[in-house]
């Protein structure tokens, strides 16, 4: 068997948004970097998550929008969805971006080795390639960035043919008639929005009292109402009791917290009840690296219990978001190469690409009230000029600030393009800005983001366009 030995300053296991960013940062800092990826570069985010869903969301939204054009005086005759073409557009976007990552890595002289990596010892990795050949990679510093996969739930029938992961759902040859989604978190509600807009009958089942349970409660409440109005069935405080394949569809048995049981049918079931860290097959036990609650524990410099081994992204748990993994990749590599940087999670934006969009950054009202005397202010998009002009006047901006100094602690948004507005909100939180600063910064008119300035005006006691 052919075996060769590769020496590097830095080896990274996993080429997702955490790993590939870490690799580029390492190369920028002058290290010889090896990146091991067993599948496609870009990881879940690029191949199965953020990016392909955004492609399909746009398709779904454009398709759904055709129904609303008549009120603008645009008459559309005939409306037809070519699902195969929609998937092709999605695949093309994914291919472009994956190619872009490969190009960036190549230009940064990162050596990419395709195969499955595992630890031999704390400084050596064994990489098995698909053709059976093996490489040994010796590196002083190693970063584990193996990501996560959809988590199963202990329910009868969960292994059935009609119970799909998001990856499988994205590649169905044709659109289903109906879809039941287990889990009302970010992934669940986005898929609900996409498939509803494409004409699929959708149900969402969430065990906790709100959709988007980790976000500010007002957002989930708003979305549940909106979904119901659109015709999406929303069941909160509800557990799935069992699943059964009845031939042409799946039978789903649910029970809410009042004990009321219901049975309904859907052609497919999407399992979106959280994600679990990919730690199997790395031989972590062999090098004495223990897991805690299913994830790799790290310190605030993202170093594991073993000196020189770092871990980032979904595999360390915490906030499982691509942009968090990327930031962690940079922090870990800088620390691995002699800097001393802490991971700072005070300003992590979260974006949900439903229609209308949802976004937030900083502390929720409940979290903030545990540590501060807070003030909460809202500004509705009904009072925003551009939102009214383009007929998207729904949703609001909610500002949570600290009372004594007016520090902006959290901003929670639902409305048009708010996934873009949250960038400004994130800067305000990261910079420890005060409500006065946000209020006195001139915002362009007419824009959606005037709403941020308006809510800050409300916080200092004088909203101009609201009473």
């Amino acid at each position: 068997m052919a075996e060769n030995i590769v020496e590097a300053d830095l080896a990274i296991i996993g080429g997702g948004p955490g790993g590939y960013v870490a690799a580029i940062r390492g190369a920028q800092l002058g290290a010889q970097v090896v990146l091991i990826e067993e599948d496609q570069l870009g990881g879940t985010c690029l191949n199965r998550g953020c990016i392909p869903t955004k492609a399909l969301l746009e398709t779904a939204h454009e398709y759904q929008k055709l129904d609303t054009l008549a009120q603008r005086g645009i008459k559309v005759a005939g409306k037809e969805l070519d699902w195969a073409q929609a998937l092709a557009q999605k695949d093309k976007a994914v291919k472009t971006l994956v190619g872009g990552v490969g190009y960036l890595l190549q230009r940064n002289q990162v050596r990419v080795i395709k195969g499955h990596g595992q630890f031999v010892d704390a400084r050596t990795l064994l990489c098995r390639q698909s053709d059976g050949s093996e490489s040994k990679i010796q590196a002083e510093r190693i970063v584990i960035a193996t990501g996560s996969q959809p988590k199963g739930i202990p329910v009868e029938g969960i292994d059935g043919q009609r119970v799909l992961s998001s990856t499988e759902l994205l590649n169905l040859p044709s659109l289903p008639q109906s879809l039941a989604i287990i889990g009302g978190g970010a992934i669940g509600v986005e898929f609900a929005s996409v498939f509803h807009d494409l004409g699929v009958e959708v149900s969402v089942i969430e065990a906790l009292p709100n959709l988007l349970p980790t976000m500010d409660a007002d957002l989930g409440v708003f979305l549940a109402k909106k979904f119901s109005k659109q015709g999406i069935r929303v069941e909160v405080n509800t557990l799935v009791q069992g699943l059964r394949d009845i031939g042409s569809s799946e039978e789903i048995r649910i029970k809410n917290k009042d004990g009321r049981e219901q049975i309904f049918q859907a052609e497919y079931v999407l399992l979106a009840a959280g994600r679990q860290a990919n730690t199997a097959g790395l031989n972590l036990a062999g090098i004495g690296l223990n897991l805690a609650a299913g994830v790799i524990p790290v310190n605030e410099y993202l170093e594991t219990a073993i000196n020189g081994i770092y871990a980032i992204g979904d595999v360390i748990g915490g906030i499982m978001l691509a942009h968090v993994a990327s930031r962690e990749g940079i922090v870990a590599v800088e620390n691995a190469l002699g800097h001393k940087v802490k991971a700072d999670y005070r300003s992590v934006p979260a974006c949900i690409y439903t229609h209308p969009e949802i976004a937030s950054v900083g502390l929720t009202e409940v979290e903030a009230s545990k540590h501060y005397e807070i003030a909460v202010h809202r500004f509705p998009f009904q009072a925003n000029g551009r939102a009214v002009a383009v007929d998207q006047a729904e949703g609001f901006v909610k500002l949570v600030s600290e009372q004594k100094y007016g520090q902006i602690l959290g901003i929670h948004l639902v409305g048009p393009m708010v996934t873009e507005l949250v960038g400004e909100a994130g800067l305000a939180v990261a910079m420890e800005s005060t409500v006065e600063e946000l209020a006195t910064t001139i915002h362009a008119h007419p824009t959606f983001n005037e709403a941020l300035m308006e809510v800050a005006h409300a916080a200092i006691g004088s909203p101009i366009h609201n009473l």
């Binding site: 100094y405 520090q407 910079m431 420890e432 800005s433």
Partner: protein
């Protein structure tokens, strides 16, 4: 009384630069305040007239209490219409400019200087929340190390500064078996300095015994003679002789600064002064030009102000040689640690009647042990030995200099 350092609890008004009725501009230094270690200039928080001085020079004032009143200026500004127009064009608030022309009139040069100063000012980088918190809690931002991007001061840094202060207050614990004191502030500063000296300067200590009978007699005579002008102590007397020898031997009156050995023409004699809150070493500047009575008077003043925490930063800087006298504690002799960047330090022991052999006979005479620690990077043993020998000679033959 502004809070000038995280640990500051009170300050002494060193001197007012302005008198009641004077025009003051925002940002202009108006009063000097002495804190534990240093003298700091306090800037006027507003533009106007100094209406009242509440705390006069020398007053000890807790942080946060009023020391004076500034009335915002309502009087017409002393500026010609041309200056007003120019100020308007340059975007300068005339009220913030101090006029140097006749009757405090603002001149074109005043405007230009004001604008240059505004351009040169290096604003403290801090988040808006950190600024508000600092203002509310009376913490001075310039003293805080920022942990944010590009050193920006964040809320946690201000909280940390506040916390440190409280920690210092509460961590003075008296337990059953021992007492806990934090190694902070003065204690830490002294410790760091001494450790730096002990670990970087190769120390050698030479010791000799000096027969002091003639010195004791001469000092007695001098004390009587100058009794109306000064109280001449043994320390003053010994220091005066040390100063003379240092003037003769600039190789000992030296400092090591970077790669330079500086042999000083002037003698700035540093005097170790023990205090409850920690050792301090005020400097008798240009001591070679001072008479014995002046040495005595100035030393007394420095020591008194050192114990009252009223030395300026300048008064504890610039020493060229240090004397540490532990005679009053009944210490025979000791090996002092050099006060960096100086080349050497003299340790002075007590004067005690001891058995001395004079011409084969044992006699009882007052003697004193002198020890010099020197930095072997700066000089060799022979220089320090010659210094000590000369000092011993002059102390044993104190009438000699008169005829030399």
């Amino acid at each position: 009384m502004p809070k000038l350092a995280a640990t500051m609890e009170e300050g002494i008004i060193s001197c007012w630069h302005k008198q009641v009725g004077d025009q003051v501009a925002k940002g202009e230094p108006i009063v000097e305040v002495l804190t534990g270690k240093i003298n700091a200039e306090v800037e006027s928080p507003a533009t106007g007239i100094l209406e009242q001085i509440i705390a006069a020079d020398g007053a000890l004032v807790p942080v946060g209490e009023a020391i004076g009143v500034i009335a915002e200026s309502k009087v017409a500004l002393q500026a010609t219409p041309r200056m007003k127009k120019l100020a308007n064009e340059l975007g300068i608030d005339l009220a913030a400019v101090v006029g140097t022309g006749p009757n405090g009139r603002i001149t074109e040069q005043d405007l230009q200087e004001h604008q240059q100063e505004a351009l040169n000012a290096d604003p403290v980088k801090a988040t808006a929340t950190a600024r508000k918190m600092a203002a509310a809690e009376g913490v001075s931002l310039p003293g805080i190390q920022g942990s944010g991007v590009s050193g920006r001061i964040q809320k946690t840094d201000v909280q940390h500064a506040l916390h440190e202060e409280t920690a210092e207050k509460i961590s003075h614990l008296v337990l059953d078996d021992y007492e806990v004191l934090p190694l902070t502030g003065m204690r830490k500063m002294i410790g760091d300095n001494m450790a730096a000296s002990a670990f970087s300067a190769p120390h050698v200590t030479l010791t000799t015994e000096v027969v002091m009978d003639q010195a004791v007699q001469l000092r007695q005579e001098l004390r009587e003679k100058y009794r109306n002008e000064a109280k001449i102590t043994f320390t003053d007397f010994i220091n005066a002789v040390v100063i003379k020898v240092l003037q003769e031997m600039p190789e000992v009156n030296a400092t090591l600064e970077g790669n330079e050995i500086r042999r000083w023409h002037k003698v700035n004699l540093a005097l170790a002064v023990a205090r409850k809150k920690g050792l301090i070493v005020p400097v008798l500047k240009n001591a070679g030009r001072k008479s014995l009575t002046e040495i005595s008077q100035h030393t007394a003043d420095l020591v008194e102000r050192a114990r009252a925490d009223r030395l300026t930063l300048e008064e504890i800087q610039g020493g060229t040689f240090t004397v540490s006298n532990l005679g009053m504690y009944d210490i025979d002799g000791f090996t002092p640690i050099i006060n960096p960047p100086q080349a050497a330090i003299l340790g002075v022991g007590r004067i005690l009647e001891r058995a001395v052999v004079v011409e084969h006979e044992v006699m009882v005479k007052p003697t004193m042990v002198l020890s010099i620690s020197f930095d072997h990077r700066i000089m060799d043993g022979d220089a320090a030995a010659r210094f000590l020998k000369r000092l011993k000679y002059l102390l044993e033959n104190p009438y000699q200099p008169v005829v030399e």
